[in-house]
Assembly symmetry: C2
Homo-oligomer: 385 residues x 2
């Protein structure tokens, strides 16, 4: 198969964007990516979105977005893997190019979450869990991740202060991101004194409800420099894995097996290992998720992620900077867009265009996107060409 | 890219299947396909489903179905294109094999529609239309297809009796299908005297609300005879196209441009034309849809589909037998499953395993699956190996 490059990116502001609809957001991000790349056409497109049916009463997003982007009659496909919808759409788009079926592919992710109330949003998000065994019995995501946090604390001694350190770091990073939903810096005390949502997770351990969209343009790597004037970014490796959807089926609540599996696949495809990664965006839907992800990706031994973040190893200038964008926690988490937005942050880092957030000498970057409590995991490894 | 073959099929009964859940249906169809093929593993899987979020409060179907099928940690992806979700999942699965990324791929479609009431089901289905311009203003699918029917009648003189002839033929075909939801034979008078839903469409012009699932196993064509003892079916060509989602943007309400485009792509890829097709399954969500589809696929000149069905040209033994399964009208329309179920009927026809429904000397078959009022169209051309 052909190597694939990312040659354009477009990202909307993340937040409560009441003046723009689902389609407005997607089209804004898509036009941004098309303009950034300089391409004059698109052969095929993918739309990552978790639950536009429940959030805004609209399915059939492939055709809808192709229509509103003026791209009919190209093939347009929506991909859904809960909060990993964006990452999964990236993988499908890359396969489309790698196979030779298409040359220029638009991959976008979008979610419009603030048109419903908090209860409805929580219900919609809970459809990413096992409804028959978890959702119908009252479990929602803060509760599920709280159980994972409790298990991690019990097995490895992870502390609430270490969880808080994730939020503090990510808000500090997000304060340098003009697209961030919550760019305010916060302190460990602020996290620990914020309202408890599901013990041990406080509200400041949780990512927010967000509207937003993100899009990229993909093409064959060997045509990238002809098509764009910017630094193309090669997709070195992709990993996608599934794990049990319900927590009760996991061997160990404190380990993200699916993430580790997806990372193994991506590392193998890329011929890289954890030490080769200069910068990483991980799926910090809750603070514990970042700690567990950094372990599953091999940046820390199992159980050492908490001390690692507390020691600054994942801060800018640390051994492995994690979530320079501010992550889901500060930048925001428009669920279907997140996997694509993560890729955009890494593209900007590898292009050297990340401004105040720039990680020095970043040549190889990684994204880790997951759905549910890790039942779907997608990992991408990217390199500047 | 590699040629792809279908080597196993599995289909549930279609109907109001209250004793089985969404996941039960998918797993039943998937196990049927695995058993039929004889394969001992699956490398990757796709789930076509339109709106499990609105129908049963469950998204994240890729991981869910991989889990309940005992297939974790393989990659599992849900694909949504409204009522073309199954056809789009087929296309993604075929690309996965054709590209060389996977060798044995499971593609399944599923919908569980009868767990909600009729009003809720109508709302959920309407999310396949343009919600901002159609749905929010009260349009649902019977009304949208009624407008298309009126346009077709006005431009070409199509009659209510011709629409009814589609339903009569398909129920006659469905009477020979043990999986059909409504296998009863009906008459033209019965259709014309049934309750009017949206003039000129009577209730017997409309496909039903259905639970059901369908699944196939794909592999590289050059390995098909080694993997299965049954007759493998080669995917000769696939076409996928988008069209404007709202009817108001169409040049002509009486023409399915997206279907014609998808058919052109599939014919070109297959090196075939309409005269080469021995049997076809089309997307008869309403009787007018079958007439318009048979025109867009090139079986009839534009406007001649109505006289064609009335003259028996699409009946068993006619020039081009259409919907020998009974179609969506009689077999049932579990929307996310439909595109895969259509492929299964053609596989059984090309294998010579269609029993009482067998079309004689069927060597090349076609499926036409669409979402909304034709905004997403997927066409497959298949041939016995």
């Amino acid at each position: 198969m052909r190597d694939v490059a990312i040659i354009g990116v477009g990202l909307t502001k993340c937040g409560e964007i009441w003046e723009k609809s689902l389609r407005d957001l997607y089209v804004e991000a898509a036009l941004g990516a098309i303009k950034d790349s300089g391409v004059d056409h698109v052969d095929s497109m993918y739309v990552g979105c978790m639950s536009s049916g429940l959030f805004v009463g609209q399915e059939h997003l492939g055709a809808l977005m192709a229509d509103y982007l003026g791209q009919c009659p190209i093939p347009a496909t929506r991909v859904e893997s809960a909060c990993a919808s964006g990452g999964t759409a990236m993988r499908m788009g890359a396969l489309d190019v790698a196979s030779g079926q298409s040359d220029v592919v638009l991959v976008g992710g979008v979610e419009k979450m603030t048109d419903v109330g908090g209860d409805e949003a929580t219900y919609a998000l809970a459809t990413a869990a096992d409804q028959e065994w978890e959702g119908f019995n009252g479990a929602t995501f803060p509760g599920l991740y709280a159980m994972m946090a409790i298990a991690h604390m019990h097995q490895y001694g992870t502390t609430s202060e270490q969880l808080a350190a994730v939020a503090v770091k990510n808000h500090d990073n997000g304060s340098r991101n003009p697209n961030a939903q919550f760019p305010a810096k916060i302190s460990v005390d602020a996290v620990l004194n914020s309202v408890m949502v599901a013990d041990p997770l406080h509200i400041l351990d949780c990512s927010p409800i967000t509207d937003g969209a993100a899009a990229v343009i993909l093409c064959p790597a060997d045509r990238a420099k002809e098509l764009t004037k910017k630094t193309p970014i090669r997709i070195l490796g992709v990993g996608h894995a599934s794990d049990s959807i319900a927590l009760h089926s996991r061997k160990n609540l404190a380990v993200l097996d699916g993430v580790a599996r997806a990372a193994d696949l991506a590392y193998t495809a890329a011929g890289k290992g954890p030490k080769d990664i200069d910068v990483c965006e991980v799926h910090d839907c809750f603070t514990i998720a970042e700690i567990m992800a950094t372990e599953a990706l091999g940046f820390f031994e199992q159980g050492k992620g908490g001390p690692g973040v507390e020691a600054g190893e994942t801060s800018p200038g640390g051994r492995i900077p994690v979530n320079p964008s501010g992550g889901l926690k500060s930048k925001g988490h428009p669920v279907g867009a997140t996997g694509v937005a993560q890729v955009i942050e890494i593209v900007e880092q590898l292009r050297g265009e990340a401004g105040e957030r720039q990680v020095k000498n970043a040549r190889v970057g990684m994204t880790q996107n997951m759905g549910g409590t890790g039942a779907s995991s997608v990992v991408h490894i990217l390199e500047a060409m």
